[in-house]
Symmetry: C2
Subunit: 177 residues, 2 copies
């Protein structure tokens, strides 16, 4: 089996996507993976260290997935369909949020180490979108619009709300059709 560090990250990620950083409990986490909460601190000295590791792994995987797709498919419309599909997965998977989307809302109460990784996630997404969309602030706007669509769909508890909003973005011309 995998090392404990990874086991902790794997259990913590869906929890944060559902309840946020503040809603993550070391005691519940320990109960889930069969370890005492004090033992988690051996692998991640503080909650901030765990949060930062979580966010870093998240943007690394997102970056790899986005680049892998755009490397073999240069069509802007196809790339944007892939991008929205990535954000849709979180909703499909237990009506969860993008990890860094939730952390962005909580940014005010986050340790600096976590904040930095959240900002990097946004950078990764916006940089990738900028290689596909027209210049200026369009990439930033699309990043924000998709985040907002996810948030709205989640609060409705209805994935089809996400689809309808994205379709409306396309119809309006914000996203390439």
């Amino acid at each position: 089996m995998a090392d404990m560090r990874e086991t902790i990250l794997n259990a913590a990620q869906p929890a944060v996507q559902a309840h946020g950083y503040g809603g993550l409990s070391f005691r519940e986490l320990g109960k889930e993976i069969g370890i005492k909460s004090a033992s988690i601190h051996y692998h991640f000295p503080t909650k901030g260290d765990l949060g930062a590791a979580l966010a870093r792994r998240y943007w690394e995987e997102a970056q790899a997935a986005l680049n892998a797709f755009s490397d073999t498919n240069a069509d802007p419309a196809a790339c944007l369909r892939f991008y929205t599909a990535v954000f849709r997965v979180a909703l499909e998977n237990g009506n969860r949020m993008c990890l860094c989307g939730f952390l962005a809302a909580e940014i005010d109460g986050l340790p600096e180490v976590v904040r930095a990784e959240v900002k990097t996630f946004v950078d990764v997404c916006v940089r990738w979108l900028a290689t596909i969309l027209p210049g200026g602030d369009r990439a930033l706007a699309v990043y924000a619009a998709i985040s907002g669509a996810q948030l709205a769909a989640r609060s409705r508890g209805d994935v089809t709300v996400f689809d309808r909003i994205v379709e409306s973005y396309r119809a309006a011309g914000l996203i390439p059709a």
Copy 2:
């Protein structure tokens, strides 16, 4: 001076807009207004009751403000400038989120009474936008897009990010210019 119930709501609102529902502490709240945390429960039996009262007051005020503007100004572009300005205020005021925007992220861990008020806030905004924008899902899309712009700007700690995103929405044709 105002009654204690209102004093509590006035102190709790900016706290939730900054730290969320989970980040609201009855003890800190009590310290701020000079009352014991146990006394807050006299006015609001549970944290959920306080959260619901907060969200309800929030959408009531938003509804009143939006209607007051559109009653005397029918121009779609002007109405949308007013709408975005309302969401901008939260950022200007200590880089805070829309109260119900934050609660939407936390929806999973919210008592049902709070959830219902959050949904009503979305309804209020979308219904108002629908009286101004072309039919279909455009109102829902604009609601989501502006929420996302606020979230992105907050995570950046930079109000001008909100302005740039909104301007980009206008340029793309999502919002009437």
